[in-house]
């Protein structure tokens, strides 16, 4: 038995050998999508050859939980491409240090934190994922707006994420409330509630369920819709009339970073021409003035002037009233 214990002890201590920490290592936490991360990091690493860039990718919600849990001794140097409404949480802002990344000054005020703690050159949009095969099978009309989803024929055919669990859920609820006005907005949500088969905890799940034909309409993300269409699913991406919700992907500098120089260089890179060139390949939503509509946006069937499909969203208001809105939502629609 002694030898067992010894063997176990030896193998455990072998496991304990942590990787040696290089002087110039940079830890980046992000919620961007895998494919784009790979492309950006390849370019950034080439531009910063002396820094080893380590990336941890988690979904928006899980990344938030991780950041808060680590708050006593933060491990990240940079938060990169994370939902601005999450970034504006006072618990998170407390961990950030103001930094004016080179080139970020071209961004309009709405896409930068007033305190200089975050900036967002890119973003993502919500969308309806409509399964055309199921739509045809059920003989349903193509929905073009939130109001179209009130049609009783859509009973139990629509899914949307729960705003209390999912940032995407809040993105949609907030867009409806801000673009239609509080009263009309709540009335709209109430009118579609009877048709909602489920409120899911994940933002991409409604689209994934719709694409395999479990449901007809998934209120979800444009990214998942585009990716599904590319894979060949019988899916149409619909931006509801009256404006679809969107979210900014913000970046900021962690005040606790022990590699400030590397962190700042990386943030500068995210505003470089090279980075912008890559955004045009991957992002449907770029907030940098004068940057042309991207390939990705064209593929998504977006008009040249993207502002025509986006809801008019006030991000500061969205962030400050989110607790109240989520609570009210839970009271009205919690199941």
């Amino acid at each position: 038995m002694k030898t067992w214990i010894q063997t176990a002890a030896v193998s455990m201590s072998a496991l304990c050998l942590a990787a040696p920490t290089l002087a110039d290592e940079l830890t980046v936490y992000t919620a961007l999508e895998e494919e784009e991360i790979a492309a950006y990091i390849e370019a950034a690493q080439a531009a910063m050859p002396d820094t080893e860039i380590n990336v941890l990718r988690l979904s928006t919600g899980k990344l938030g939980a991780r950041l808060l849990a680590e708050a006593g001794n933060p491990q990240a140097d940079v938060i990169w491409g994370w939902a601005a409404s999450a970034m504006m949480d006072p618990q998170i802002l407390e961990m950030l240090e103001p930094y004016a990344a080179k080139g970020a000054d071209v961004l309009p005020d709405t896409f930068r934190g007033a305190d200089g703690k975050w900036f967002a050159p890119i973003g993502y949009m919500g969308a309806f994922c409509v399964n055309t095969a199921r739509l045809e099978e059920k003989g349903l009309p193509m929905p073009k707006s939130w109001a179209d989803l009130e049609n009783p024929a859509f009973k139990d055919e629509v899914l949307m994420p729960d705003p209390n669990s999912s940032g995407t859920g809040y993105l949609h609820v907030n867009a409806v409330l801000q673009s239609m006005g509080e009263e009309a907005g709540w009335a709209q949500l109430e009118a579609v509630d009877p048709n909602m088969a489920q409120y899911t905890s994940s933002g991409s799940k409604p689209c994934k369920s719709a694409r395999v034909g479990e449901y007809t309409v998934g209120i979800s993300l444009a990214f998942t819709a585009m990716q599904s269409i590319e894979e060949g699913y019988p899916l149409a991406m619909v931006f509801p009339e009256g404006g679809v919700g969107y979210e900014l992907e913000a970046s900021g500098l962690m005040a606790s970073s022990d590699n400030m120089e590397g962190a700042k260089a990386f943030l500068d890179w995210t505003m470089s021409d090279e980075a912008i060139g890559l955004y045009q390949k991957y992002k449907a939503l770029i907030t940098i003035p004068g940057v042309d509509a991207s390939e990705a946006a064209e593929k998504a069937g977006l008009p040249a002037d993207i502002s025509t499909v986006l809801a008019d969203v006030d991000f500061v208001k969205a962030a400050t009233q989110q607790t109240a809105v989520k609570e009210q939502w839970k009271e009205k629609f919690g199941r």
Binding site: L15, L68, E70, N164, S165, A197, V212, G213
Partner: protein
């Protein structure tokens, strides 16, 4: 205490006490450092209000209607899953250990499949099979409404069943054949034998299994999120508070509240067991069932039916991983196996190393604890037993976050563990501590104390008794605990997802990242690879065990 024989020299006695102390002390230290301490920190968070402490968080949670709805749902779901899993689990365990028919190895192999399947596989499998656009719905031409109570019940039962079989099996495998022979001679009918001999003897195992099934059901988030539809449970509440609203302290409150029903049900179970007299005698003769057509054929049939269900759920996902575009283009291809994103196949090897470490370390720890607890007075053993049975009551997400709060603090030297593979192995073990401990405890329950006493009076110290008497007796349970820990460590996600670093990832996290990226088919393909690796590893280890058995068997008269 066992060494009351006058012939024991004093030094032997002291060495024994020291060994007992080490047996209990080392695993107990582990439980305190890696379970009690992190949970104490979670408790502190649950009573943190602003910069001071108070119970406001609790009153807020208790005052919300959503909490009570979720509690009601959780209790109903926990009860239903427990009843179903223990019932089916008993049938299968009974078929495996108390009946005579061919092909048991197949049932034994299939029944553990849900343990080694990543949670994504079970979720996808159920939806592909029973979903509104699933195979069965399309074949029947009616849409089955799987999302909600029934879907969740099936999913939870699939996951709980193998654990119920493992624990109940530990109680049935060691029943004494001579009692049955005596009953036979006295003319007791088979039903009477079952009611008066098998059931009472299995009671400890059944109660332990019920406790485990109930606890893992009320803490599970994965199934509820995927197939529970709008059937909100307490684990969904925690997720919504912590991940959805970054409201840590509220999540901690629900996490702490989840411990309550678990502690209560464990206390009830202990009371129930106390009333049962342990009547084990020495010199057991292993039971060798003879063929009895009515009993054996019906038992085998039910077991096979359940196994067919399990195979169907997993096989359909494996098949779908080769399908071009499920369910719209059923052509076959290998394209989903070309995985380049999310770290590709790189995490597989590390996961195997971590899982072996968790399984080996964990099996030794629960064995030592079980052994040591037998020699402690009840008053001391009882609280340790409760602590050892508690980890299952903590949802993986809560445990993972508790580990960050605890080990990412430079205040203690434990900080050295943060970001290492060792910490992942440790969290995997403690996450499944309850199941391992209760399986071994159920096994120990069948071990006649007289056997140890006899060894003691012949001058064998605890070390020798453990090696020569206890270990061989308990070996089948240790083997199942080892494989259980290995399989779960290979695929468990909820706690580990918070402990990976940019340089250290595990297979379950890769699967999650692929699915997050919308590449569900690739995630299924990667899951298939993980399952193949686990099966190969388990078969390989079984082969080694078989060879070892043969060698030692040839020395003994059998």
């Amino acid at each position: 205490m066992m060494n009351t024989a006058a012939s024991s020299p004093r030094r032997q006695f002291d060495a024994d006490r020291l060994l007992t102390l080490a047996c209990v002390g080392l695993p107990l230290l582990g439980l305190i450092l890696f379970f009690a301490y992190p949970m104490a920190i979670v408790f502190l968070r649950s009573i943190t209000v602003g910069d001071s402490y108070g119970i406001e968080n609790y009153t807020t949670v208790l005052g919300s209607s959503g909490f009570w709805r979720a509690t009601r749902h959780s209790l109903v779901m926990g009860g239903a899953t427990t009843a179903l899993s223990v019932f089916l689990g008993f049938i299968i365990a009974h078929a495996l250990y108390r009946c005579a028919f061919r092909g048991k190895w197949l049932i034994r192999a299939i029944i553990v499949l849900p343990l080694l399947a990543p949670s994504l596989v079970q979720a996808l499998g159920l939806i592909f099979l029973l979903g509104r656009n699933g195979v069965i719905s399309r074949a029947l031409g009616v849409e089955i409404e799987i999302y909600g109570f029934w879907g969740l019940l099936i999913a939870n039962t699939l996951y709980a069943l193998p654990q119920a079989v493992m624990i109940i099996g530990a109680a049935l495998v060691l029943l004494d054949a001579r009692t049955y022979e005596a009953a036979e001679v006295m003319g007791a009918q088979p039903w009477r034998q079952f009611r008066d001999l098998t059931l009472p003897a299995a009671r400890f195992g059944i109660l332990n299994a019920a406790f485990v099934c109930f606890t893992i059901t009320i803490t599970d988030f994965g199934n509820a999120a995927v197939i529970g539809g709008d059937y909100s449970v307490l684990a969904t509440e925690i997720y919504s508070q912590v991940v959805g609203q970054r409201n840590f302290n509220m999540g901690a409150v629900v996490g702490i509240m989840l411990l309550l029903p678990t502690v209560i049900s464990y206390a009830i179970e202990r009371q129930a067991i106390k009333r049962q007299q342990a009547a084990q005698t020495t010199g057991q003769v292993p039971f060798r069932p003879s063929f009895s057509p009515l009993r054996d054929i019906s038992m085998a049939f039910v077991s096979a039916l359940i196994c067919a269900g399990i195979v169907a759920v997993i096989a359909i996902v494996v098949y779908a991983s080769f399908v071009k575009l499920w369910p719209y283009n059923m052509g076959l291809s290998f394209k989903h196996y070309d995985i380049t994103l999310a770290g590709g196949y790189g995490s597989l090897w590390m996961t195997i190393v971590i899982s072996l470490a968790a399984a080996a370390g964990g099996t030794i720890a629960v064995f030592l604890l079980g052994l040591g607890l037998r020699r402690l007075p009840q008053a001391l053993a009882q609280p340790i037993q409760i602590l050892a049975a508690m980890p299952a009551a903590v949802p993986g997400m809560v445990l993972g976050l508790a580990y960050i709060l605890t080990f990412n603090s430079t205040a203690t030297p434990l900080y050295l563990l943060y970001g290492t593979a060792a910490l992942i192995a440790i969290v995997n073990f403690y996450h499944y501590h309850t199941q391992g401990f209760l399986t071994v405890a159920t096994g120990f329950r069948q071990l006649p104390p007289a056997l140890e006493e006899a060894a003691g009076s012949l001058g064998a110290g605890l070390g020798r008794t453990a090696r020569d008497i206890v270990a061989p007796f308990i070996a089948p349970m240790l083997v199942s605990v080892f494989f259980f820990l290995f399989m779960r460590s290979m695929v468990t996600l909820s706690a580990v997802v918070f402990l990976t670093t940019p340089n250290l990832s595990v297979a379950a996290v890769t699967i999650m990242r692929l699915d997050d990226a919308g590449l569900t088919s690739q995630a299924a393909a990667f899951s298939t690879c993980v399952m193949a690796v686990v099966c190969t590893a388990v078969l390989f280890m079984k082969l080694i065990l078989l060879l070892m058995n043969r060698r030692s068997g040839s020395r003994e008269t059998n």
